[in-house]
Symmetry: C2
Amino acid sequence: MDIDFEKGNGLVPVIAQDAESGKVLMLAYINKEAFEYTLKTGRATYWSRSRGKLWRKGEESGNFQEIVDILIDCDNDTLIYKVTQKGLAAACHEGYESCFFRNYKEGKWVYNGEIKKFEPNEVYKK
Amino acid sequence: MDIDFEKGNGLVPVIAQDAESGKVLMLAYINKEAFEYTLKTGRATYWSRSRGKLWRKGEESGNFQEIVDILIDCDNDTLIYKVTQKGLAAACHEGYESCFFRNYKEGKWVYNGEIKKFEPNEVYKK
């Protein structure tokens, strides 16, 4: 009944979902360390594939995701983190509540009206 | 604005979500062919990693997923299929509406009361 990290070379995808609204916020990856850190802190922690290190979501932006519940799928290779978003309540580095702010319409990906919670270049200062 | 299939060696994960309830049903993978087949048929089609072939969901079980909407994330490497489940309305091969039928409770994965829509050994006959 353990998480199957082997199939994905040490990583499994995690769907972050708003615990109250059910909105899917983002998809990211965890390794064993990120999962244990999530349990320990009660905050969603991922593994950044691009940076190759633990990604303590919200550490820089203040937009933490507090864990409400964790689910696993039938194959033990995908999780859901049901979360409450803190800070500006934006999962996306582009400032939106959810990373899924575009829908497919007649061959194009079209902005779907998702509200922008912050302007990235004001928050991620150099 | 195209789907970034390169990062995942030709595959991207897709979150299947019930269009009405918002329940996350399953996570699977698509390649370009599966995406095009999905658009053409209006039914969720995936790429089976274990079988190495196109997975026309519901073809065997009758439990199709009709596409209501398709979303893409900020990095272009994850999709959401918002769907209406047909047939027995079960995404999971184990018979549940959702593959996420267990929650993490004090170190264990515990059945969360998800209703079973069918008995697998009655549906997947030899």
